[in-house]
Symmetry: C2
Subunit: 273 residues, 2 copies
Amino acid sequence: MVIPDIENPHVSTLIQKTQNYAHQSGYSVILSITNNDVELEKKYIETLLHKGVDGVIVNHTVDTRGKKYLQELVDEGIPIVLLGRIEGLEIDSLLSDIEKGVYLLIEHLIKLGHKRIVFLKGHTTQYRVTGYKSALDKYNIPVDENLIIEHGQKLEDLPGIVDRILLINPRPTAVFGFNDYLAIGLVTLLEERGIRVPDDMAVVGLDNINLSKYARVPLTTVDLKPDLVAKGSIDLIINKITNGKNNGYKFQSITIEPEMIIRQSCGRLIKSI
Amino acid sequence: MVIPDIENPHVSTLIQKTQNYAHQSGYSVILSITNNDVELEKKYIETLLHKGVDGVIVNHTVDTRGKKYLQELVDEGIPIVLLGRIEGLEIDSLLSDIEKGVYLLIEHLIKLGHKRIVFLKGHTTQYRVTGYKSALDKYNIPVDENLIIEHGQKLEDLPGIVDRILLINPRPTAVFGFNDYLAIGLVTLLEERGIRVPDDMAVVGLDNINLSKYARVPLTTVDLKPDLVAKGSIDLIINKITNGKNNGYKFQSITIEPEMIIRQSCGRLIKSI
């Protein structure tokens, strides 16, 4: 199993569940962490194959260029399953529908009366952006680029992010916090600056990590169903390992539906409606 | 690298840093997660060796019985480094001094006037217990077994733990929260029950995870120096790989000094002094 980054506890959960399902089927999982480095990813996949693993589950890097070698490996009959989807490749894949998850969260905020919703963009795939923009579009709210904040997806970026948010004029009323891990820290920093959550500012996360229920303000978030992703990826890879490159085999592309979890961090209808 | 559990973000940090140092020296790291299962640990080590890895860094299970096979592997010349220490084995090892870390935290609480300090015990090695008891002993505070709470080290255990704490009579004034991950959740649950941290109850963690600085009440904790552990373990294993089983080689046992980080969660001198 090849993973870009394990700082987010959501990933730890995914790994543990994948390992449990593999174990139930008599397989062992070995992991490589790529630090989101395209070259390192390729090198690790080669290393693992060289070490004789039966198949590789690839949670690929954000940068999806230069991934044609994966198709070549698959065409040679090597069992590979992607977590995510790469345009143009015919490889078994499994995708948590992050785009829909973000859409649900933004729609929820809009229905509560929020129109100025900060979007923490990060440097991951486009799914979050598309979810954000399509929800605004559906409710005829123009995208304000001032509300979109780039960041490095690390807790250390939070003080700078909060500074940026508080400088936006007119003041936004809600923030999509990129993931739960960052959103939990964001709530703390906002409250330290005298901004109460959810009364002054609504915050939503993404991932539904275990800690979110026990956060200062329990987080409204989206559960990406790591259990289903783990089970699905093990089923797919074992199917590939067992059936090999049978003629007529068509690749499968499975989408996992997310579930919105409403807690306290986005409050009720805001007054300005 | 063989690891018992990756739910705690402290472990993710350790893994990433180990991988970075390995990479700088031209090595790749592959990981196996043992779920703290002695049998699985043995099986994974065998699998990794069978796959031809150059050496194995073992963060061993809590249960240290049945580990003699590690000594046999080392005697055969296989490079192995332990994170932790196992009585009776002559294997290169590296240990974060958790016992001293806990001692420092309990001593800090005692100096602030706390005498009734709850100890969340968990099911890990004895280091935490020894640190707790020796600090109490040093300051002539008898150990009260009512203050020692067993738990499964999961966030899901927290509501039960809080129930237990609030039933203790007379009410304790401080809690050693086992690790930062649990301590962060504990603070939230205590405050939900009307117990203010640190005014009504001091809380300390262990690990200094990134999130602790951004927690509802920034946590007083101990940094176990994952960077030094990562660097040290890579140095040891590469040394073993490079020098093989040279005659006269004596095994090394390195201890990493922890550092106490004082933040807001244990407040100042309490009134009852």
